[in-house]
Structure formats: C-alpha cells, structure tokens
C-alpha cells in the first residue's frame, strides 16, 4: 500500500504540483488508510470515496491543462461537520440536522476549493460543538488513536483523531472554548485558534458568535500555517471579519528567540495540574530559554473565573443562536397539531442532553430577573479579564501554559458530571473570551504513551510571532507528532 498518507501537507502539495505524484494517488492512499481506521475511530461521519476521487481527478486534469492548481493542490482536508458544504450533508452531529444539506459553501470551503484542496469528508464532533470529549455526538463517540478506550478530546475530536492517525494530513475545526486546542493536545498534534475576526465565520453553524473561530489541525506547525494562510482574510458576509491582512506565516524557522519575552502565568500551574503535564511544560520552558528567550512569571488573577464566565456567555449566545431550529425552514420536524407544540416537540426530541442543558442555562442567564446577576455580570468580568490580559501583554510577547490539565481521559469517565467535563477547558477559554490567538502543540508523552500538549497565547492579530515561537520550539525540542500503533491484525508480515 502507498505510504503517501505519512507525508506532510506541504510535501504532498509540492509533489502534486511538480507532477511527481497525482492528486488521485494521494487521495487513494488516504482513502485506503481511512477505510482501515475509520470504523475503529469514528472520526468521519460522512466520507464518500467516489466523491474524493472525482475531486482529485479534477485537480489532475487542471494540472494536465497547465493551470495553477493552488497551494493545497491535491491535499485531502477533513472538514468538521459544523461547517457548511454545498450539496454535502452538514449535521453538527445532531439529530435535528441529520438530513440538512446546505445550499451554499462556507467561506473557508470556498477558499479550500480555490486552493486546490480535496474536501475529504465531514468529521465527527460533540453535538453543535458543545463538549470536550466528542461523546456528545448524536451518532457515535470518537476514540483516541493512541488508546481506543480514551477520548480524543472535543469538540473537534473527529478532526484531531483523523489527522493524528494519518487519515488526512489537515483538518478544519472550530474553537469556541478550546475545541481545536484541547483535542489537538490530547491527540499529539498542532491546533490553532486564530484571532477573533481572522477567519470568516460565514457558513460555520453558529454556537457562540462572540467566541467561535475556525482554525487548522495538522501534524506540524508548518502545515497548520499553510492551512491558516489559506482560510484567513476578510469576508464581507461576516460583519466581525477583520480587514487586517495575515502576514505570511511560512517563514524560516528562527534559530534564536533572543529578545522574545515569554510570560508564565502562575495561575495555570495550580494544584489541579497533572505532574507529568507540569514536567513536560517545564521542559518546554527550558527549551525556549535555551533559544535565548527570556522567561518571567506573570499573574492573571481572574483566570479562575474564566470557566464561570464562559459557561454564562457561551450558553447565553447558544440559546439565542439555536432558537432557529424550530422545524420550519430546515432540520427535523416532530408532528403536532399546532405551532408551539410543534416547536416544543421538535426541539425536545431533536436536541441531545448537553445541548438542552446549555439552552436552559443560557435562557436562565438572560431571563428577566436574572440578567444583571448572570449575563450582565459575566460580561463585566469578561471585560476585566480582557484588561488584565492586555496589561500582561505590555510586559511579555507570548504566554506559555499547559493546554490541558491532564492527558486524555477514559470514555465515560466524565459524562455523568457536566462540571468535571467543563473544567477540561480551564486553560483554553481565556483566549476565546479575549479574542486572542493561541496554538497548542505536542510537548511530550506520559508514562503510558499518551500525548501532552502545551499552549502558546499571543497578542491580538499576533499570529506571525506566535507561529515563529511555535516553529522554533518544535524544531529545537524535536517534540513532534508520533504515529499511533497500527491496529492488531493489519500489520504487514515481516519481510
């Protein structure tokens, strides 16, 4: 079997453009890999090999005719199933959208098509991106390729598992409170949440509109940069989309970080942090110091309120955004004699438990008599957190933290306790609340072989610096993606 699935996106695009391999050969290798792994992982919800081949042949045809196929020529990309794809089902892993076929492409999908990417399939997620383990998918949970009894994280768990196991070299996720960075960390890959406004949200099914951002998952910083460059940029259809241009991220790897100031926020290293994670992030700090970066401790005292603020703001926005699922224009409808009963029945049967929980919390926070004490207060605390962070970014350029408090947990371990599940996002929500960019990348392994992730947070629109630090760390530490063990019974016999 072709080993092209092991290659990076950058290498694949170069080979396809140089006619060393065809886009069809690239796709075929990933199709075979996916057929072998997907049942076990549950990473893809929709995957049509014939459609993938058709797209690949079109790229090959384009190349044959002498046209420029684009920077992602023939590169298969997994798409989180809350991103609209024209003519291809987009379910948000919810029963209520089980048969929804969007009549348009999201902005990021248009960009991928123009760049010559192959839209490989739709990846599994927590229903409406609400969750941290991908166990809230209405269809099936996703499993971690490094230990099938464990979660890949969430909510972009399908995208993370698919990239980590080589089903695709790249995938898109969405990040509202850590949904790209946390699964990237638990699957030992790179995941980035761009600055709010960097990537158009047009065609991303809305969860919490002031927090949602689409971003890349990849096996290297270079590949993540290539995908982010492809999707970033202004789009008039998203009023919060920024006109600031993204500085090209694919620059040489800096050999020294002299002059760079890295802040270590002490609140991220408290008692809930697993020892192995603490040690790995400590080693990352030393690596960066050896690159001549200066490191200083900083304090963000409001960090402990990040989760309470998030679990007011995000559900409030969700309760409003999800009001559109009413059984009238799209999605499922439960039959009833009159309209209000139809709304209640449709939503009661169409939404899963976590989605209902968040709609209730959000509606409560916004309801008359409670608004000031909950939603209003959360927004003020969010404002204070923003100010606190801005002050720290006057002292330092980048913040270094763990991405998650622990390595991947077991499936079922936290499903009965919503608060325990919410605390997975304790290190990631701040970047969403403040709109700043953040990257998680591999920084080691636990004694059990499970990936550990570190997080770098940058200044608003500071992706260039953030990616340079990530590149330098990746090169100096040699902490890169490791292939998961091959499933039993599929190994090639020894020669």
């Amino acid at each position: 079997m072709s080993e092209l699935w092991r290659e990076s996106a950058v290498a694949l695009a170069a080979k396809v453009r140089a006619r060393e391999v065809t886009a069809l050969e690239v796709s075929e290798a990933h199709i075979q890999r996916t057929l072998e792994w997907n049942d076990r992982l549950g990473a893809f919800l929709h995957f049509e090999p014939e459609d993938v081949r058709r797209q690949a042949r079109r790229i090959d045809h384009l190349i044959g005719s002498g046209a420029d196929p684009g920077v992602l020529a023939g590169v298969p990309v997994g798409i989180k199933d809350n991103i609209c794809t024209k003519g291809v089902r987009t379910t948000c892993a919810s029963r209520i959208l089980e048969n929804f076929v969007p009549p348009y492409d999201a902005h990021v999908i248009e960009r991928l098509r123009e760049a010559g990417a192959v839209l490989f399939g739709k990846t599994n997620l927590d229903e409406f991106a609400m969750g941290s383990s991908t166990e809230n998918s209405a269809f099936r949970p996703v499993r971690n390729p490094y230990d099938l009894a464990r979660t890949p994280g969430g909510s972009s768990g399908g995208s993370a598992a698919a990239v980590a196991a080589g089903l695709v070299p790249l995938a898109l996720g969405s990040d509202t409170g850590g949904s790209i960075r946390q699964p990237a960390a638990l699957c030992g890959i790179v995941g980035a949440k761009p600055t709010y406004g960097r990537v158009s949200r047009f065609g991303l099914v809305a969860f919490a509109s002031s927090l949602d951002q689409i971003g890349p998952l990849a096996r290297s910083v270079e590949d993540a940069a290539l995908l982010l460059e492809t999707i970033a940029g202004h789009d008039a259809r998203d009023a919060t989309s920024s006109v600031r241009a993204l500085v090209p991220l694919e620059t040489a790897t800096p050999k020294s970080l002299r002059g760079l100031k890295i802040g270590i926020p002490i609140e991220y290293f408290g008692k809930g942090l697993a020892d192995e994670v603490r040690a790995a992030v400590g080693a990352a700090q030393s690596t960066l110091q050896n690159l001549d970066a200066s490191v200083e401790q900083v304090s963000l005292p409001l960090t402990e309120y990040g989760i309470p603020v998030y679990y007011v703001v995000a559900p409030s926005e969700a309760s409003s955004n999800l009001a559109r699922y009413d059984g009238v224009r799209y999605g499922m409808r439960a039959e009833a004699q009159e309209l209000k009963a139809m709304y209640r029945a449709t939503r009661g049967r169409g939404f899963g438990r976590e989605v209902k929980r968040r709609i209730l919390v959000g509606t409560f926070s916004l309801s008359s008599g409670y608004y000031d004490a909950y939603y209003g207060r959360a927004q003020k605390v969010r404002g204070a957190m923003l100010r606190e962070l801005d002050e720290v970014f006057e002292q330092v350029d980048v913040l270094l933290t763990p991405a998650t408090p622990s390595v991947a947990f077991r499936l079922g371990e936290k499903t009965e306790d919503p608060l325990a599940m919410y605390l997975n996002d304790v290190f990631t929500v701040t970047a969403n609340l403040a709109g700043i960019p953040a990257v998680s990348l591999p920084c080691g392994r636990s004694s059990g072989g499970l990936p550990i992730g570190l997080q770098l947070m940058g200044k608003r629109f500071g992706e260039e610096e953030l990616f340079q630090v990530a590149r330098a760390y990746e090169a100096a530490s040699k902490q890169t993606h490791v292939w998961p063990p091959e499933p039993e019974g599929t190994q090639e016999p020894a020669a």
Binding site: F100, V101, P103, Y104, Y196, G197, S210, H234, T240, S242, V243, R244, L302, I307, P308, Y311, S319, A323, D326, V328, R329, Y330, G331, M332, R333, E335, A336, Q337, E338, L339, K340, A341, M342, R344, A345, G348, R349, R353, K356, R357, I359, L360, V361, T363, F364, S367, A373, G376, A378, Q379, K380, V381, R382, G383, A384, L386, P418, L419, A434, G435
Partner: protein, 98 residues
C-alpha cells in the same frame, strides 16, 4: 441560589423544549449545580469603570448595494414542509387561544 422546579419548567417553556417529568427533574439537578458554580461570579470585585468590553474590529463599513441572495428553490430545499413557494407550518393558534 436554589432553583425551584417551577423555575426550570418556566425556563424550559421559554426555551420551547418539551421534556418528560423525569428529564425535567434530572436537568433541574444539573442546572442547580451549574448555577451554583457560576454564582462564583458574584464574588469578583469590580470597579465603577468595569463594563463589558469587546475586541471586535467592528468598524468595517461599506456602501449599501444590492446583491442576489439565496434562490427560492434553494431556500425551500431543506424545509420539512413547503408548497414550492412558502414554508408550511401547523395551525398557529391552539383551540383555547382562538
């Protein structure tokens, strides 16, 4: 703050969510736990100047212009019930509201 079962039923009604009595009871427990947790926001000391801040680059304006939108057939494509021109819905007023 304790949340009464009536409060949960009221919020569920506002949210247009049908639920069985068992589901309502167990979601009431969850809601109670979550609200007790987010109640920690009350302890944050805020100054008189603290207000909700945003970070949006929202001063992006353009001239009004007309552009084509979704075609009617495309807009109706996913509807659970439609007649080719309109979305169809069940009767809007229940008997006791007529």
């Amino acid at each position: 703050m304790p949340i009464e079962p009536d409060e949960v039923r009221h919020v569920a009604e506002l949210s247009r969510l049908e639920m069985t009595p068992e589901e309502a009871d167990s979601l009431a427990d969850d809601l109670q736990k979550i609200v007790s947790y987010i109640d920690r926001l009350q302890e944050v000391e805020l100054g008189p100047d603290d207000e909700a801040l945003t970070y949006f680059d929202a001063d992006v304006h353009r001239e009004d212009r007309t552009a084509s939108g979704l075609e009617r057939a495309d807009a109706l494509w996913n509807a659970p019930d439609a007649d080719g021109e309109f979305f169809l819905v069940p009767k809007i007023l229940a008997k006791d509201e007529e």
